[in-house]
Symmetry: C2
Amino acid sequence: MRIALLGGTGDIGEGLALRWAYHTDHEVLIGSRDPERAREKAAEYETELSSRGREVTVEGFANGTAADRAGVVVLAVPAYHARDTVEAVADSLDEGDVLVTPATGMRRDDEGVHYHRPGAGSVTELVADAVPDGVSVVGAYHNLPAGRLADLDADLGIDTVLLADDPDAAETVRLLTEAIDGLRPLSGGGLANAGEVEAVTPLLINVAANNEGLHDLGVRFQ
Amino acid sequence: MRIALLGGTGDIGEGLALRWAYHTDHEVLIGSRDPERAREKAAEYETELSSRGREVTVEGFANGTAADRAGVVVLAVPAYHARDTVEAVADSLDEGDVLVTPATGMRRDDEGVHYHRPGAGSVTELVADAVPDGVSVVGAYHNLPAGRLADLDADLGIDTVLLADDPDAAETVRLLTEAIDGLRPLSGGGLANAGEVEAVTPLLINVAANNEGLHDLGVRFQ
């Protein structure tokens, strides 16, 4: 399967790219608004993987090209670029494509970081409202620790909650998630349940900020 | 220390009562709107503890009497009774008392359970707005699995996030929490950060409802 990581040059995109390229045989495409930046980061990922004995090709493209070539598109961009990015690549999304959205809205004040719920109910639903007909949206990877995800030496041992209205799309993402060592996919139900998942991201930041020795946290349901 | 559990006859109150009476030497008082009901449940808890070789006195009272006699008061009532209950016992709360609030607002629709954020920002803050001056509010125990908590044979292995603006009150509740085997207290910062913690409770219900084999879930940050 071909997976495009739009915004795959940073943060959560880097970790997912490295983990999929390392643990699976799926083809990973890096997308960025700046195709040169995408190619540079793709080359960095290849070097990192090669240093671990994994010789794979990771290619970089402009977001639209990456989206066009892939069946699963991960929208690994900040929440405030989520809708713009979907609109910018809409012509490259085909019927049957799966769009995965990990973004969450946050605002910081003196007390900490808070969930900034969009009018649509969640960033996940805001993205779902913006995709062309026939494209299935799955909310996933909202609460992952970006640093540990991108460090192939780091054990994860955490969960990610998937939200989907289309069971086939959910199954596709469940399998992709299970393929990453230490990451357990759990279903959170339909897209309408995404807000409660997105709100965990600021909570993880607040907990890390207030407890010595805890940082780059994920969550485990048990 | 004397701990009053208002609404200590059901749900999370039962579990906290049993765990504190079993694991610590703190005196546990059960409060209820119906004092006869409180006495009946207190006697049940004594029988349960006695069957495990723990001979302790657990007394039941009307909520106001329980609150009056205790230095730490846990408001283990449903969210829609939280404010009423505080107002009903306000005269029994003394300066320096610590009021602990675990309630969270939820509403259910066809998709699942959702966080119902009050205008105050959270149920925790709504309670804080209602207490008399000089009483410190700590948000805690929002995301605990009630059934497992009340089953002294069940291992917990989970976290609870404490929210407080008063460091002394936070420390009191941290120590009470640490005294329960398998329950790790973490700081989530000030009361203003409570909404993201309360939103985890409906998430746990949605995850349990959508994944076979998972039920009565707690959360671990790792």
